[in-house]
Amino acid sequence: MRTQDAHPVRTAWLVVASLLAFMLLIAGCGSSSSNSSSGGEELTKLGKGEGEVNLISWAGYVEPEWTKPFEQKTGCKVNDKVAGTSDEMVSLMRTGQYDGVSASGNASARLVDGGDVAPVNVSLVPNYKTIFSDLKNQPYNTFDGTHYGIPHGRGANLLMWNTEDVKPAPTSWGVILNPKEAAKYKGKISAYDDPIYIADAAVYLKAHQPDLGIENPYELNEEQFEAAVNLLKEQRPYVGEYWSEAAKQIQAFAGGDSQVGTTWQYQYFELEGAGKPVAASPASQGFLPSEGATGWSDTWMISSEAKHPNCMYMWMNWIVSPQANAEVAEFFGEAPAQSLACEHTAEKDFCAKYHAENPAFWKRVYYWETPLADCGNGEEDCKDYNDWVQAWTSIKG
């Protein structure tokens, strides 16, 4: 080696020099390229399917029961990637390798702002017409009057507990958020691992500390935000596990590592189906603890770099077709977006049970939104999502 590398020092300098040159080149290119966020063009005419479609979805949204018939009918093979959090969905969409995503409200605004998704021509989605009208033209799916997606369904985040260990049955989020009560289940509490979980604390505080004046749990000023963050910091020592993968939480509840916590219908049904002693807020209370709950209203969005746009449009139309939308809603346990789906559910009173046709009910469910500095009072004094992310890091420690 030593004889070959006659001038190791010179070689090293050469490497450093080329590296510096490269850095300057990058910096130069970087400053000239603007981060323009044109969201791509909307499709004007539906063509032939491209043979496959790559989706990002929540667990339980893309299942063989309704993807098989879709594949047979359209010839578009469905490749699905399940994501655990909205942040994950945003990062995956930014790779440009996916055609579409089932985005919740705390991802959709970011995707539109970042130019990652394209407007949707709803006239190419015939089933859009019969979607519940209170899901159309909402701030999380329509931006400046342009449609950016097709509503999929909605629901509330659940409070779930192990009926053998948690008695009496809790009726309030206080069981995991009030430090005095949470202490009883130290190390057995399960909390959602995402900055948006701060809103759950805000919903609790809205009901229990009215002097904070919280209106919308996603629009928090300095004082309100601090109160919510402090509540979660107090909760931290009692949390057994923060979950972001549904499978991880199912395993923790099944194995006894978690006894009470926030969950989705999907995990609850999986555990219940496996005969585990779990319960969630009853349907008679609208699945809601006394304070109400955070929830979601999801939208199928198409990537601005979609390689299979025709298949993606066919998918968006398929997933809100009466039959498929009924199946996915029942499988996941959420209210369907398609009004005609209510006639196709296996359980006859499913739509009534999930309040699908009852706009008043949804007033107590706070759909995930992207927190912005501008909360509509023109003062830009609310905490934005970046603050939420930083606070979440400090809550978990």
């Binding site: 490269f22 942040d87 945003v90 970011r110 972001s244 890091t393 978990k396």
Partner: protein, 264 residues
């Protein structure tokens, strides 16, 4: 030479350079878009916010513990393989060490997750003695990482010991050195670069991992925070990604001071 060097500079060091530059960018608080410029804001955040100091400290500490644990476990195994085992025994051991590397990383971590759960096999074994398993937490991360990276420590040490001629050991014995002295004055100095080579693997792999902490603990490691910020605050994630690089460079400098690279 030009081809490999070009690849190294552009493909590898180049992307590192981009990473380095991004650490000096900022995010516009209103639009959330990345603003390209020069600012030390992210580094100030990392230094001033106690939570980041805790996370870096925790990550480096676990990485160091994993490295020491693996070195202690690996040396006897490697020594047995290189100097004691028969040719056939050697082959069997090499295969036994390589086989876990062929199975999926995720499967291994998830198996540990099941084993460490409160109704898992570890608790079940310890229960008759009135003991509890470690549960999920830093101890679990340390255990799982030590298991995961052990082969990366055994193999370099084995290769290093294999290169030590047996005649040196015999000579030491003939000159009256006790086995312990032979080990301390002959084998260990010669095998030391190999231990350092193995430790670079275990240390660097632990510093960068974020899936194990997520599955067997509630604690955040450097990788978790990078992951959480990547879609939302890329500059902060980049700044944080520099921390393991700086730690690694410092580690290599110390290793060099200790003479780890003298025989390469």
């Amino acid at each position: 030479m030009a081809g490999p060097v070009g690849w190294l500079v552009i493909g590898y060091l180049g992307s590192l350079a981009v990473l380095l530059i991004a650490g000096f960018w900022t995010v516009d608080p209103l639009s959330g878009e990345v603003v390209q410029g020069f600012s030390l804001e992210n580094f100030e955040t990392l230094v001033n916010e106690p939570v980041y100091r805790d996370i870096v400290g925790r990550t480096v500490l676990i990485a160091a513990l994993v490295t020491v644990t693996d070195a202690l476990l690996a040396f006897p195994i490697a020594f047995y393989m290189a100097k004691v085992a028969s040719r056939r025994g050697k082959a069997i051991l090499v295969v036994a060490i390589l086989v876990p590397l062929w199975s999926s990383y995720l499967v291994k971590v998830l198996s540990w997750r099941t084993m460490l759960s409160s109704e898992g096999v570890i608790d079940w074994v310890l229960k008759p003695f009135g003991l509890h398993g470690p549960g999920y937490g830093n101890t679990a991360v340390w255990l799982v990482m030590s298991y995961l990276w052990l082969p990366y420590m055994i193999l370099p040490i084995y290769a290093g010991l294999e290169r030590i001629p047996n005649s040196l050991i015999s000579a030491s014995e003939d000159l009256g050195a006790s086995p312990f002295t032979t080990f301390r004055r002959v084998i260990l100095p010669l095998a030391f670069p190999a231990v350092i080579a193995g430790s670079i693997f275990t240390f660097a792999l632990t510093l960068g991992d974020y899936i194990t902490p997520r599955l067997v603990s509630n604690n955040q490691f450097i990788g978790n925070v990078i992951f959480n910020n990547i879609s939302n605050n890329l500059p902060l994630a980049s700044a944080l990604a520099l921390v393991p690089i700086v730690v690694m460079v410092a580690y290599l400098m110390v290793a060099r001071k200790l003479g780890a690279f003298e025989h390469i």
